[in-house]
Symmetry: C2
DNA sequence: TTGCAATACATTGAACTTCGAGGTATGGTG
DNA sequence: CACCATACCTCGAAGTTCAATGTATTGCAA
């Protein structure tokens, strides 16, 4: 529900951000996304399938993603790609993420009266 | 429960990190922490009292914080400070936070095959 | 050819945080 | 004397994420 609180329910929705970012680059299917996140983050991040699939479904029903079935080497895959609405969503999430982490970094790193 | 999963339940525990960081600088009381976070982050982050107090209690019962009552200008305050165990916890959380955000940044910013 | 690992989809219940609203009580100010 | 700021606290609801599990197919190895 995109959460409309003071904070965007804090750091939640990171998987959503990562997924949108990957799909913004090229179309991918669920299982591929799970591994792409693990691989590209050198194992630092690992979102399970139990996280990825529900997010994909939610994003699609929100109109941020569109999907198409495709059979490759006898394997049926569902490829997802970002819609225009999804691009906006990605931009928003990325901006939120950037400012939030900046604020947190200031708080963590900044001695005495941070924020000059 | 500190969550012992693959990821540290992802981005959860940011309030805990911020609180430990503030208390590592000097002893503070709950109400003060709430405002310190708001002020130092230029309103970007706002953890309510409903978040701060339970975290303080949990950290204390985990032995990461110790408290002492103090009455200042007729007002009863509970000042918290970091124990040795709390310092270790802070160091761990900060390290986790740093590597996680670094990984996410790489994923977000990195084009094609991130991680050279 | 039988069995097991990897691929590929999906759902479920539990656990945890966080949020927001509320509740109590005291001190200073208009 | 009322009201706001201070200062503590708890509760229920909401939302994510996790781990486990389930199905089915492909390819490889024993």
């Amino acid at each position: 529900m995109v959460s409309r609180g003071s904070n965007p329910n804090f750091m939640n929705g990171v998987p959503e951000l990562l997924i949108l970012r990957l799909l913004d680059e090229r179309e991918m299917y669920g299982y591929e996304i799970v591994q792409a996140i693990r691989d590209r983050s050198r194992e630092a991040i690992a979102v399970g399938e139990g996280v990825v699939y529900p997010v994909l479904h939610a994003l699609e029903s929100d109109g941020a993603l569109k999907s198409r079935r495709k059979t490759v080497q006898g394997r049926s895959r569902i490829y997802y790609s970002v819609t225009r609405a999804g691009s906006r969503r990605l931009a928003d999430l990325a901006a939120d993420w950037t400012s939030l982490t900046a604020a947190i970094h200031t708080l963590i790193a900044g001695g005495k009266h941070a924020i000059p």
